[in-house]
Amino acid sequence: MKVQHVLAGLPFLGILVGMFFANSVEPYVLGLPFAMFWVVMWVVVSAGLMAVVYRLDSRDRLRERGDRS
C-alpha cells in the first residue's frame, strides 16, 4: 500500500470512526460545538491531505518517466 492511500484513508477514519469519540458539545472550538468543529476540521484537513497526495503522485509519475528514458 502506498503512502498516498494511507493519507487518503485518514479522513475516513477521522469522520467515520472518530465521530464516536468526538460526539460532544464541549469543548467549544472557534465558537463551534466540538462535534461540528471535528467535521469542519476534517473537511479542511482532507483538502490539505489531497494536495499532498497529488504532489506525491506527480513526483512518482515524473520518476517513472525518468526511469524509462
Binding site: 487518503a8 469522520i15 467515520l16 465521530m19 472557534l30 469542519v40 479542511v44 494536495a51
Partner: protein, 513 residues
Amino acid sequence: MNIALLVIVLFLVLAVGLALRARRGRDMDLEQWTAGGRGFGAIFVFLLMAGEIYSTFTFLGGAGLVYGSGGAAYYILGYGTLAYILSYWLLPAVWRYCTPRKLLSQADFFVARYDSRSLGVIVSLVAVAAMIPYLALQLKGLGIIVSQTSSGTISSTAAVWIGAFVLSMYVVASGIHGSAWTAAIKDVLTLSVVVFIGLYLPIHYFGSIGAMFHQIDASKPGFAALKGDQLSPVWFSSTVLLTALGFYMWPHTFGSALTARNEDVFRRNAIFMPLYQLLIAFVLLVGFVAVLKLPGLGEGETDGALLGISQQAFPGWFVGLIGSAGMLCALVPGSMLLIASATIVSRNIYRGLNPTASDATVTNLTKLLVPVIALGAVAFVFAGGQTIVTLLLLGYALVTQLFPALVLSLVRPGWVTKAGAISGIVVGLAIVAAMTFSGATPGSSTTLDTLVGGLPSFLADLNLGVVALVANFAVTALVSTATRSGDEGARVAEDEPRFSRVPEPAAERARTV
C-alpha cells in the same frame, strides 16, 4: 402580491428568459457539459460540478435537519468530503475506460463493462427510481418557498403543484441545454446569501456564534452533538458512508466524469472540492438560530426553518432574494434531474428493451415523459411524512446499490460476473424497497429499527441503505464466485466490446424537448 414573492417571480422570469436565449444557441454551451464535450478545464468543471451538487437539499434541508435533529446534520458536511477523496481514484478510472470507447452515460458504461444489455436496463431502472425522490425533494422545496413567502396565502398543496408546473415549464423552455448563465447566477446568489445570513443571524441575535451555541446548550443540553436515540453516531457514520459511496453513482454526477479534458482535472478538483463543502456550515448555523428564535415548528414544517427565521429578521425584498436563491437551487438541478430521468427511460430502458425503436419514437417518448415523471414526483411529495433529508436519503439508499458492481469492475476486472452484478443490485434494491414501504409513513425514517424491532442500538441505528448495500455486496460476491469460469465476465468486455453500439449523444436525442 408582496415584495418577496415579486422578487422571486422576477428571478423566475430571468431564469426562463436566459433558458430561452440559451435555446437559440447564444449561451455558453451547456450541451457539451451534459453530453460530454470533454474539453473543459479545471475551473469550469469545478463550477459545474459544484453547481450540480448544491440543491434545495443543502439550502432548506440542511437547516431543516438542524432544526429537527441538531447535530445529526453534521453528516451533510462530512459525506461530500469523503466522496471527493474517492473521486481522486474513481473518476480518472471511469474516464480512462469511457473516453476511448466514446461511452456517454452510466448505463453505457455498465452495458460495455459487463457486455450485457439487460444490466443496462436494470441500472437505468435503479437510477430513475432513485431520481424520483430526489426530484420530489426539489418540488417540496419549491412548494415551501412559494407558500412561505406568500405568508400562507398560497397553501402548501397548491404550492407543490405550482412548483411542478414551474419546473416542467422551465424544462420545456430550456430543453437539454439548460443555461450555464442561470447556473452561474444560482451559484453566486446562493453563495453570497448563505454566507451572509449564516454570519449575520447568529451575531444579530446572540452577539457571536459561540454565544449562540452556549445558549442552545443551556436550553437543550446535547442538542448540538449527536443524540443517543436513533440519530446516534452509528446512524451518522453509516449515513456518511452510504452517501459518500453513492455520490458519484447518480447518472448526472457520473456523467460529469465524462466531461473533462484529461484525468488530471479530477485529481486537482479532489483537492479543492472539499473546501466548497464548508458553505454548508453556514446553512447549519442558520438552522441553529431558528432553533432558539423560531420555536414551535411542527415535525412536518422543519424544512421551513431557514425561510421562517429570514422572514422574522429581514425586510421583504431580502427575503425575496433568499427565496430566489432557493428557487434556483430547486430549478437548476431539478430540471437536470427531470431531463436525465426522462432521457434514461426512453433511451436506456425503452430502447434497451426494443433495440429497433426509431429515433423519432424515442424523442417523442422523452417529451411525453417529462410531465409524467414530474407527476410521479408530485405523488411522492403527497405520499407525505418525509422531510427533504429523508427523501434524499431514500434516493441514496437506492442509487448506492450500483456501487459494488461499478467499482469492482474497475478495481478487479473480471471478478464480478454479469449474473453477480445483476443479482447483487436486485437484492439491494429489493431490501430498500421492502424497508421503504413497510413503515407507517413510507420513507419517513432512515434507520434499521423501523423494519426489525428489538435490535441492540449499534444495529438499530444503522442506515437502511447500508444494510442493503452489505447484502448487495455479499450476493454479488457469492453469485460471481459461483458463475465465474475462466475468461468470462467483464474481462471480455474490456478487451473487445462484443455488442455493437451506435453512438448517439443524449443531447441530440432530447434537443427538441
